[in-house]
């Protein structure tokens, strides 16, 4: 039995347990970094492409291409977040007070995230996703700002509803299967479900799918249940925002993706209509908000909703755009990580989140401004970043499958976002700096995580190493039958 994948769950949990010892509180940021790096080191050999998925622990754990790719992604992101947190506490020692609490929660969050991705059982995977939401709640109001407490309450409520709907969808699907194969033969393991779904009662099956898509879409921050996302991202500290926007987003995406894998070509019409409607609604809403906001953190949050919309449109197409969707999801996680971490650095220095109060950042914070600029380019889908190629593949998919109206709507919305984001963010970087502004020293170590993300983002666009490319292809091939 190969229990190595479970190390990615056990190691963070062990770290969290160690942090119950008060003597280790002062070492918490070192412990976090050490565990993140160790996890990554354990994971690397496991992510080499393999011919067939392997199942462990009485079928509860699966290591397939989807798990390999997303484990690699979220753990790479976690290394960067840990490094950022480590540097922030080093730079501002007043933050060290109760950092151990945040570190402990982050480690439990990562253990639950890794478990959710590795899990082959639909309910246990749901439980792990719910655990990430419940550990995120205290992290959001870690710094005990009143606005953060309110945001964490709203996050909790929306999570309860969206994940509740997902569970309800699972119950409906189970009942649909039960009606045709009998209660004794129902299995909730993903690989068995693929076979059962095809013969399940179609009414219950479709109801289950509709509820699961709506629930997961809400967890991804899509309309109509989106309002928690900008509020939460704006109120949390940058490291927590990045954990939510880049790590938890991908864990929820894997949940949705696995359900679409399970359904295969069944009810593809329903999935397509629902995802297209949710995707376009999210994009319209995000575009309106991007045009009107004067807060750069909120702008990035609305851009995240916009991107979730693009992902939904890609998923609606099934196989023709699958590679583009996966490339876009991976790139998007890295872009959000770069932008939210940089936004945190900018906020820490300027003490404002208002766009019109910031000008000429390039003169004061050269490297942060450059990262912000490059991140914005990637956010807008410029070449040579992976997000550009992902977007192009999704657009090509829309054309080749005859979705001309959706294609036109996507082009219009992306163009408006392009102009509105550029108009808002570029003056922050290039405009005239305030009188008396001096260049701030920025250590290379502090820039490390963003540099690391940028390198991966570029490599996804310019040169993707063969193992990673194979992995991306395998994940894309696992979606749908169309």
């Amino acid at each position: 039995m190969n229990l190595l994948p479970l190390t990615t769950v056990v190691l963070p949990l062990f770290g969290a347990l160690l942090l119950l010892i008060p003597q280790l509180y002062v070492r918490s940021r070192h412990l976090l970094l050490a565990i993140a790096c160790l996890d990554m080191a354990v994971l690397l050999p496991l992510t080499l492409p393999r011919a067939a998925p392997s199942f462990e622990l009485e079928h509860f754990v699966v290591l397939d291409a989807t798990a390999q790719l997303f484990l690699l992604l979220i753990n790479a992101l976690f290394v960067g977040i840990s490094l950022h947190l480590h540097n922030r506490v080093r730079a501002a020692p007043e933050l060290a007070g109760d950092i151990h609490r945040l570190v402990r929660l982050s480690l439990v969050f990562m253990a639950a995230s890794n478990a959710a991705i590795l899990c082959n059982h639909v309910v246990v995977a749901w439980i792990c996703l719910e655990l990430t939401a419940l550990t995120a709640v205290p992290m959001i109001h870690h710094q005990r700002r009143d606005s953060a407490t309110t945001a964490s309450w709203h996050y909790f409520l929306f999570s309860a509803v969206s994940l509740g709907l997902v569970l309800l969808g699972v119950v409906c699907l189970t009942h649909g299967i039960e009606l045709t194969v009998g209660a004794e033969r129902v299995s909730l393991f993903h690989d068995n479900l693929r076979l059962e779904v095809a013969i399940a009662d179609p009414v219950w099956r479709r109801l289950g799918l509709a509820l699961m898509i709506f629930g997961y879409a809400s967890k991804l921050g899509m309309a109509p249940l989106y309002s928690w996302l900008p509020e939460t991202y704006d109120s949390s500290s940058p490291s927590v925002t990045t954990l939510l926007a880049a790590v938890q987003f991908n864990v929820a995406f894997v949940g949705l993706f696995r359900m679409l894998q399970v359904y295969g070509g069944n009810d593809a019409d329903l999935a397509s209509y629902q995802l297209t409607a949710l995707g376009l609604a999210s994009m319209v809403l995000a575009t309106v908000k991007i045009v009107s906001t004067n807060n750069y953190k909120l702008l990035i949050a609305y851009a995240a909703i916009n991107h979730a919309g693009v992902i939904a449109l890609g998923l609606a197409l099934g196989r023709p755009a699958a590679y583009g969707v996966i490339l876009y999801v991976v790139s998007n996680a890295l872009v959000k990580a770069i932008l939210f971490l940089t936004a945190g650095t900018i906020k820490a220095h300027y003490r404002t989140k208002k766009i019109d109060e910031l000008h000429g950042m390039i003169r004061e914070m050269r490297y942060s401004a450059l990262f912000f600029l490059v991140g914005t380019f990637a956010l807008l889908g410029f070449a040579p970043f992976g997000s550009f190629f992902g977007e192009v593949i999704i657009m090509t998919g829309l054309i080749t499958t005859g979705h001309y109206i959706t294609f036109a709507a996507l082009c219009v919305l992306l163009s408006v976002v392009f102009v509105a984001t550029g108009r808002s963010l570029f003056p922050m970087v290039w405009g005239e700096p305030p009188v008396g502004a001096v260049r701030q020293p920025e250590s290379l170590v502090a820039l490390g995580p963003k540099l690391f993300y940028l390198a991966i983002l570029l490599s996804l666009g310019v040169y993707t190493p063969a193992p990673l490319s194979t992995l991306l292809q395998q994940v894309a091939n696992s979606l749908g039958t169309r």
Partner: protein
């Protein structure tokens, strides 16, 4: 079984029209007890999954969660007169429409003469009325009750299925429910102190 579903239905609907949070908590208790009785009547067969589910319903949903919410409400000095949904004709009509829609939906799903009709109708009512409470309620305590009503509605749906999932999954669901109640309590307590403006943390000016 029908009388238990009727008890659940009454425990779900009556608190909407009674101006008291005590009534709402008693409603949650009765819902959990009714579900536990249904599970008992289904037969436990000494299998771990239904036994865990029974403990979940009796210990956590019928006793712990309402008790904890009551403790919080008392601590925060919440007035006894408490509307779960706004007390006006419009919202009451909306609630009535949702109840009728639930049974209509249930009829569409399983047919007019099915034995599951009442079960699904009541479960659907539970979910939809919980969403109505969430949509109209502004007080954290009321929103917390809505979340618990939603959880109960989903559990009633689960009871409709005869399939017993693996005991590990059932145990996980119970753990998540318990954690949800504790997290909710922590937040409702903290929200009670969110009045003053400005930072409440010494390191608030710095950003992690």
């Amino acid at each position: 079984m029908t009388y238990l579903l009727f008890a659940y239905f009454l425990a779900l609907c009556l608190p909407l029209f009674i101006r008291s949070w005590h009534a709402a908590l008693t409603g949650l208790r009765i819902q959990a007890i009714a579900m536990a009785a249904m599970l008992w009547l289904h037969g436990l067969h000494m299998e771990p999954t239904p036994i865990i589910a029974l403990v979940d319903l009796l210990l956590f949903r019928a006793i712990f969660a309402p008790w904890y919410l009551k403790k919080m409400a008392t601590e925060r000095g919440v007035a006894k007169a408490f509307d779960l949904i706004p007390a006006n004709l419009l919202v009451w009509t909306l609630a009535a429409i949702l109840i009728m829609a639930s049974f209509g939906f249930s009829t569409t799903l399983v047919g007019q003469f099915s034995r599951s009709l009442t079960h699904l109708g009541v479960a659907c009512c539970g979910v939809l009325l919980a969403l109505l409470i969430l949509a109209t309620q502004r007080a954290p305590l009321g929103q917390a009750m809505a979340v618990l009503t939603l959880e109960n509605g989903i559990s009633l749906f689960e009871l409709h299925a005869h399939h017993h999932m693996e005991w590990v999954a059932q145990l996980g669901l119970t753990f998540v429910y318990l954690l949800t109640v504790l997290t909710m309590a922590l937040l409702v307590r903290r929200l009670g102190t969110v009045d003053d403006d400005g930072p409440t943390h010494p390191a608030d000016s710095a950003v992690l």
